[in-house]
Amino acid sequence: MNMAVRTPDPKKLIKGATGDWEVIIGLEVHAQVTSNAKLFSGASAVFGAEPNMHVSLVDAAMPGMLPVINEECVAQAIRTGLGLKAAINLYSVFDRKNYFYPDLPQGYQISQYKQPIVGEGKVLLDMPEGVVEIGIERLHLEQDAGKSIHDQHPTMSFVDLNRSGVALMEIVSKPDLRSSEEVKAYLAKLRTILRYLGTCDGNMEEGSMRADINVSVRKPGEPLGTRCEIKNVNSMRFAAQAVEFEARRQIGILEDGGKIDQETRLYDPGKGETRSMRSKEEAHDYRYFPDPDLLPLELDPAWVESLKAHLPELPDEKKARFVADYGITPYDAMVLTLERASADYYEQVAKNRDGKAVANFMLNELFGRLNKDGKGIEASPVSPDQLGAIVDLIGDGTISGKIAKDLFEIVYTEGGDPKNLVEERGLKQVTDTGAIERAVDEVIAANPDKAEQAKAKPTLSGWFVGQVMKATGGKANPQAVNDLVKRKLGIE
């Protein structure tokens, strides 16, 4: 393990009975490669088929079957490496990792051990205190195992090999993370990058992204403590909870004068705790050796270059460009670029419009409304053109900001052209000063006592503005109302 280099941040330390503790975390993320076929066979890699339907005799490890590597899976690993700003190793080797389990018919997993396809890289996290850089140690390609089901029969386990041989990327971070918030942010950022690249769908519920979390604690400035590995965490929230629990468990043991046993643990979301996996004797002796069925993987530098040339714009670059081109805040740009689809939506609307106004309307109205319905931006009932039309109507003073919300709701639920809707439903802002003046006069005439008070207490004019807006159904131009009320009440 690398020596951790970050200076301890007092805000991230955990207070114990004997002083402050620093939590050191490293993650191994298994990301399923997006591909049609498996890493070494021609069987489908698609999730959710009938048992053993997506299995070739290679995946079932029948005698004499030989692996042949899927070139697209290699390309996906390279793209991911480039997206992580990592070194691509033009020469890498596949090894056998030996262990016995019924869902591993070969008796070994084909993986990469000493010479992985991708070397050191980095991931940048947008934390409240600023950007935090997390080092990537390596990325390697390996096979997924099959699936065992234990609850179908009293004495037998059921084995389905559909996942057996599906390509995984294991992305190993350096022990650079220091809190459960950073763990969550890291997983979210990694997921965003993978989804931008199209190399993994990042669907944690279906198991396309799973994390093994290494946690240790130390007093700031001391050498690294003994770590425990929490296996197979499949949600960002659980990952954060597992880290919180595990750090406190270790601190408790150390403060009671005990020592930490290096072991593998499981997180139980129901109980909110980690517990030791019954560690099998000699379980960690994998006896890696180069797979004699596979030659070393040698990459043509020109091929790597062409993959690089075709990479999409990544979230960090897109964010920086949004700030520069559209004048929005880094935070808004970060939220808009979390998903490529929402960034694309934003750009469609913001092109030739006020970028700030579009960002505000999207973040406050559109995202809020979609969230309420549990919908993604892809399923938005309001198209970029419709949203752009609403923003235009606010911009040219046709409707007020308040009416825009109502108009948005109509477009969201009923559809239609915002411009026509404004005409048909009479939503136009009243800019006719005569009409507004009449409304102001009526409100003042109906409330002579309040009008008198307002002369001494000018803040009361806000109440009059509210009344006039109510009387005009929110269609009066608020600025015009404000000016008129003040003038009529004799306050400036």
Partner: protein
Amino acid sequence: MSVDTATVRRVARLARIKVTDDEAARMTNELNSILGFVEQLNEVDVAGVEPMTSVVSVKMRRRQDVVTDGENAEAVTVNAPVSEDHFFLVPKVVE
């Protein structure tokens, strides 16, 4: 380098091969004579020599990302000692 009988037993266990005491003793001798031969090979200075991965100079063959196989659960499970609904059935294993 040489191995003792305990190491032979451990390696056999990891490979799930059952060995009797007599066999373990015999294998210890056999493995040690093989290791002795390897030791002899180790005397050759190979500093700066690339490990040979193939007797002829070939690049690894690659396949296109096309589904060409599978969709035959019957063939996959037909030789299994026990199966049900195209699942393999094995003695219960729970972590």
